[in-house]
């Protein structure tokens, strides 16, 4: 076989290119990392996305606003409630209506439960990526309790489509308050186990400390938001910068670290779980009474352009709607957190070993359907 110039070039430098993915267990979806290796060392990485592109933005143009909400579940399926809320808030702001306090409280509690469930699954999968299978069972055991709360009230476990422009699809189940309180009490006892199992483990610390350093400048210039950005000291929590729903009413801390390595991105999420529990504690006892759905004649935002951002479990989700005054959007665009978080991987993983690439991509907490949409 004839050798190409590129092959010769690679041979001289003793480099070779391997593909991690599209079917690799640690990418958690169909994502391909084209990785250039020199020995065991990563020289550069080119992420290739688009394997699960479904054209959600284009599809949404043919659907009315209440209908297109169910497609946002399918972007970042681990923060479905928060995605729904983003569209709902954007449409409500555009129409100039305000939902009742009851809806705001319930939305915030659901969002925080979603964040907890997402971080639990991330913790489980992150441990599993690094070879600790135990974490997977412990994380999923506790996540099951949250999914039960969701299932009882919304009828679905993962893709709920519960929050809709104007309020909620239906009122929450009478057991919602009781179950949520039970869960918070239960999980406060179980969360220290997580630290005992994984955080303090020497092998885990050796594999994550000092690996994948991301500077604050990089985080800002690549637009890395969410816990990944906050691990580098980027104050990017939308719940603090531009509070929405019931977040202005609650007290919580924005967790930031300045070290910016894999271990501290991990710590941000672990401490965020405590903060989420605090937020739920403050809200769950005093959910006010009120209607759960506004009496809207038609969901038709006026002509214009509207933008709303929310904090999902993985970072900043922006919804940009161009409306021509009709029942369907003229154009809808999602600024998804994972798309921005993905492309820093070349910067932070270059120079590390191939085994560290798994740890680094795990610490960015990527959800692939959110990258491609």
């Amino acid at each position: 076989m004839e050798e190409t110039l590129m092959d010769l070039d690679l041979k001289e430098k003793e480099e070779y290119i391997i593909n991690m993915g599209p079917q690799h267990p640690s990418t958690h979806g169909v994502l391909r990392f084209e990785t250039c290796l020199q020995g065991e060392k990563v020289k550069w990485i080119r992420p290739h996305c688009g394997y699960i592109h479904r054209g959600i933005e284009k599809m949404s143009e043919a659907l009315t606003y209440p209908q297109l909400v169910h497609l946002t579940d399918r972007m970042d399926y681990l923060s479905a409630h928060i995605n729904n809320e983003a569209v709902a808030l954007c449409v409500e702001n555009a129409m100039g209506v305000e939902v009742s306090d009851r809806v705001k409280y319930i939305r915030t509690i659901l969002a925080e439960l979603t964040r907890l469930a997402s971080h639990q699954l991330w913790w489980s999968a992150f441990g599993m990526d690094l070879g600790a299978l135990t974490t997977f069972f412990y994380g999923l055991r506790d996540r099951e309790k949250i999914l039960d709360i969701f299932e009882e009230s919304t009828g679905a476990r993962l893709l709920q489509s519960f929050i809709t422009p104007g309020g909620l699809m239906n009122d929450v189940h009478p057991n919602f308050q009781k179950r949520t309180k039970e869960f918070v009490k239960y999980f406060r006892k179980k969360l220290p186990e997580y630290d005992q199992l994984l955080t303090g483990n020497v092998i885990f610390q050796e594999r994550t400390k000092g690996i994948g350093y991301m500077s604050l400048e990089d985080a800002i210039s690549y637009g890395v938001t969410g816990p990944s950005g906050r691990g580098s000291g980027f104050h990017c929590d939308i719940r603090k910068i531009a509070p929405y729903s019931a977040y202005p009413l609650v007290k919580f801390n924005e967790i930031t670290y300045t070290q910016g390595d894999t271990f501290h991105r991990y710590l941000v999420r672990m401490r965020e779980m405590w903060e989420s529990l605090d937020i739920i504690d403050q809200l769950v006892d005093n959910i006010p009474q009120g209607p759960t759905m506004l009496e809207l004649k038609a969901v038709k935002p006026p002509k214009g352009e509207f933008y709303q951002r929310v904090e999902t479990a993985r970072g900043e989700l922006g919804v940009y709607i161009v409306s021509d005054g009709g029942p369907t959007p003229a154009r809808i665009r999602y600024r998804t957190p994972n798309f921005s978080n993905l492309f820093i991987i070349n910067k932070i993983a270059s120079g590390h070993k191939i085994a560290d690439l798994v740890a680094i991509s795990g610490s960015l907490d990527l959800v692939i359907p959110d990258i491609d949409r």
Partner: protein
């Protein structure tokens, strides 16, 4: 001097081993605690517990048209559910009948539900003014033939419930 460094290195080596074992034991404490306490098991034996397994009332399993004991449904063929459906999973087919008073009216011929394209967004149920629809709690939807997922929801021989005028 060289001896001192060597002693230090050896000391570090053993300290690291000690720390490693200590963290391992610390983690094993958690797993060991659950190992000796079978009451903390949370898993279910799924196919065996079919008889007792109950979904939550709100669980969205599959769409059904509510029929009462006299085989009456409440659908008045207004087509709202089909229009609300984001992906065309519902087809409402009407047929015209001549009533006893000589006027023709539309009645339900076939209520076709495509379970294969349904995304369980739940927009159809609150859309119905007659409360004719609801989600059932069934969840074992796997079939060998895709055509079995296209269902006719109105029972054979059913008719609309007579409402007093």
């Amino acid at each position: 001097m060289a001896l001192l460094t060597t002693i230090k290195e050896v000391g570090n080596y053993f300290r690291e081993i000690y720390q490693g074992v200590a963290s391992l034991v610390n983690g094993m404490k958690v797993t060991g605690k659950y190992f000796v306490k079978p009451s903390t098991i949370v898993t279910q034996k799924y196919p065996e517990n079919r008889a007792t397994l109950k979904m939550f009332d709100n669980f969205k399993g599959e769409l059904i048209l509510i029929h009462d004991e006299n085989n009456h449904h409440r659908c008045n063929v207004c087509n709202t559910c089909a229009r609300k459906c984001p992906n065309g999973s519902i087809e409402v087919i009407a047929r015209k009948v001549v009533g006893p008073d000589g006027r023709t009216k539309k009645v339900l011929d076939k209520y076709i539900y495509h379970l294969d394209t349904c995304t369980f967004c739940g927009l159809c149920v609150p859309a119905c003014d007659e409360n004719a629809l609801k989600f059932d709690n069934t969840f074992e939807h796997a079939v060998f033939d895709k055509t079995k997922l296209v269902k006719t929801l109105n029972h054979p021989g059913s008719s609309k419930i007579e409402t007093p005028e």
